[in-house]
């Protein structure tokens, strides 16, 4: 079972604020999944390697060559606020 305090801590790590309704729903879902995950207890996993890379492909590199990219205007088209050709955010240094 997940405690309210822990749930709220996770929300804050994930940069989320929960409404009361969300909190209730998410707690229920959390407990359901965590409960199912307890099934892993019955397995001996000590000598099993975690599977991270499904096709065993190693890092894919390419030559470091300059190529065409997007212009500033295109990239800024979706920015919520702009100023002087930059993305505007609130002041971060006092």
């Amino acid at each position: 079972m997940i405690e309210k305090k822990e749930l709220l801590n996770i929300a804050s790590l994930a940069k989320l604020k929960l409404s009361e309704e969300d909190e209730e729903k998410i707690t229920k879902k959390f407990n359901l999944v965590l409960n199912y995950a307890r099934m892993f207890d019955e397995l001996d996993l000590e000598n099993v390697e975690p599977l991270v890379n499904i096709n065993n492909l190693s890092n894919v590199m390419r030559e470091d060559e300059p190529m065409e990219s997007y212009d500033r205007e295109t990239l800024l088209a979706n920015a919520p606020e702009k100023l002087y050709g930059c993305i505007k955010v609130s002041k971060i240094i006092e």
């Binding site: 390697e49 975690p50 499904i54 096709n55």
Partner: protein, 488 residues
């Protein structure tokens, strides 16, 4: 034929008529938009229609054809694309308030390929928000209805794409599949849904949910159409680092093949309690069809299958938590109107932009990756993932394909399952294994229970898609369930 009914034909039938000069691409498009006008109010499969764009494309195809240019299978074929696949200059919302006004500056690799092949985008389809869900009910914008019963869900997350094809609002539709998001809605809407081998189709331009599971695939009206479409989607792409540098060949060559001697395994864990009796019967009847055609069928056991759902939830949510960190209200997407500093800008934008299901997945992932839970949850899930993958690889040494139900039941009523958490959770049980192991799988219509479609799932080893198409085509030719259409 009345050109008004063109929408009800298959892709290959329409292709042949266009090639023979019987109809133009514009006439085909007229028919499809006419159909959309007639039924879309009831179905609500689309989030955006791209009419101007589509007519321009159709005109260009018709001109090229008139000039005598030899065009490929997809030239002039109207299609739908799930709204989590980037389309340059056309809104791509992921059915989320977070991306409500987002217009990608680039095309997804698959969309670029389809455009090059001459396929025509008629619209972008609805989905569960960020593809998280199995009913399309978590969409921030609309509830898509199942064309077979408007009070029921189409499945999800690619519910809009599946419903569009089932309702003849497009000849085929592209979707994505992270835990069953193509096969499950295909099953509930009575169409074909195909998820490829991990790495076979580039995900460049697909808005990422869980990168070690996500794959792009297609919905089709019949197996021949599916093989044709896959030919255009497959292939190496340097822009997706998980892309497989492998040639898969022409999938059409797997059509019309004898399946005598094919070895089929029926993993008994997938026919267990929780699977509706009538659904189970229909799958077993389907298997009998293949047996009559000369396939060898045996029951097998996959003891690790029961761990698949928690493995899927923990790993996919962990990846989602990392992938969705990019939505911070800064560079693109939703930005909250009110905030007092940068921290609040992040928190308010994310809290207002994401729906409840997405918040849950992000938080479950954040939790599983936290230092306290990393070993007990994330790392253990990765270990069990290996066991599940190994178990399947061993099964495929002996069997060419495995057959299971795609989904434990027929489509549920709208609102019914979203409240029943256990049922919602268990609904992924048949489909997630293929994503966990990175293997290809298809759902093909295999009958009707209470007037609603049931899908049979065919899985093969990685890169074994030809076996799936071979079996599916043999099955289809001897059953013809795909010919049934919903009354709308």
């Amino acid at each position: 034929m009345n050109t008004l009914d063109l929408f009800s034909l298959t892709l290959h039938e329409i292709r042949d008529m266009m090639r023979n000069g019987e109809i133009s691409s514009k006439e085909v498009l007229d028919s499809v938009y006419g159909r959309i006008e007639a039924v879309e109010d009831k179905i609500e499969a689309y989030l955006t229609l791209t009419k101007d764009y589509a007519y321009e494309a159709a005109e260009s195809i018709d001109k090229r054809r008139l000039k005598g240019e030899k065009l490929g299978d997809l030239a002039g074929i109207p299609m739908a694309v799930k709204d989590n696949i980037s389309t340059k200059g056309i809104k791509t919302t992921c059915a989320s308030k977070m991306l409500e006004n987002y217009i990608p500056p680039f095309d997804a690799h698959v969309f670029e390929k389809l455009k090059e092949a001459g396929a025509i985008l008629v619209g972008k389809t609805n989905l569960d928000e960020f593809a998280m869900g199995c009913s399309t009910e978590t969409s921030a914008f609309k509830i898509t209805k199942n064309p077979w019963d408007l009070e029921r869900v189409p499945g999800g997350s690619s519910g809009g794409s599946a419903a569009a094809v089932a309702a003849d609002e497009a000849y085929f539709a592209i979707g994505s599949d992270t835990g069953g998001s193509m096969r499950q809605p295909a099953s509930l809407c009575g169409v074909i849904g195909f998820k490829p081998t991990y790495g076979a189709i580039s995900r460049y331009g697909l808005v990422a949910f869980a990168s070690s599971f996500d794959q792009i695939g297609t919905f089709a009206k019949d197996v021949e159409d599916c093989a044709i479409i896959l030919n255009y989607l497959y292939g190496y792409d340097e822009k997706d680092t998980t892309s497989l540098p492998i040639e898969f060949g022409d999938f059409k060559e797997a059509l019309n093949k004898d399946i005598k001697g094919m070895k089929i395994g029926l993993p008994k864990e997938y026919y267990d309690k929780g699977i509706d009796g009538e659904v189970k019967e229909m799958i077993l009847d389907g298997v009998k069809v293949l047996e009559r055609l000369g396939a060898h069928v045996e029951e097998i056991s996959l003891p690790y299958a029961k761990y698949a759902v928690p493995v899927y939830y923990i790993i996919s949510s962990s990846e989602a938590s990392s992938n969705l960190a990019r939505f911070d209200g800064v560079r693109y997407g939703y930005r909250a109107k009110e905030y007092k500093d940068l921290e609040e800008l992040y928190v308010n934008s994310r809290s207002q932009g994401f729906g409840s299901e997405v918040k849950f997945r992000i938080m479950l992932g954040t939790y599983s990756l936290s230092s306290k839970c990393y070993d007990t949850h994330y790392n253990r899930a990765l270990k069990v993932r290996r066991l599940i993958k190994q178990e399947l690889e061993e099964a495929f040494v002996k069997y060419d394909i495995l057959i299971t139900p795609t989904y434990p039941t027929i489509a549920s009523k709208i609102g019914e399952k979203s409240e029943d958490l256990v049922a919602m959770y268990m609904s992924d049980i048949c489909t997630v294994t293929a994503n966990i192991a990175g293997i290809p799988a298809m759902s093909i219509p295999c009958g009707f229970s209470k007037g609603l479609p049931v899908g049979m799932q065919i899985m093969s080893k990685a890169m074994g898609e030809a076996d799936i198409i071979k079996a599916a085509h043999a099955f289809e030719k001897n059953t013809n369930y795909y010919k049934n259409k919903p009354t709308l």
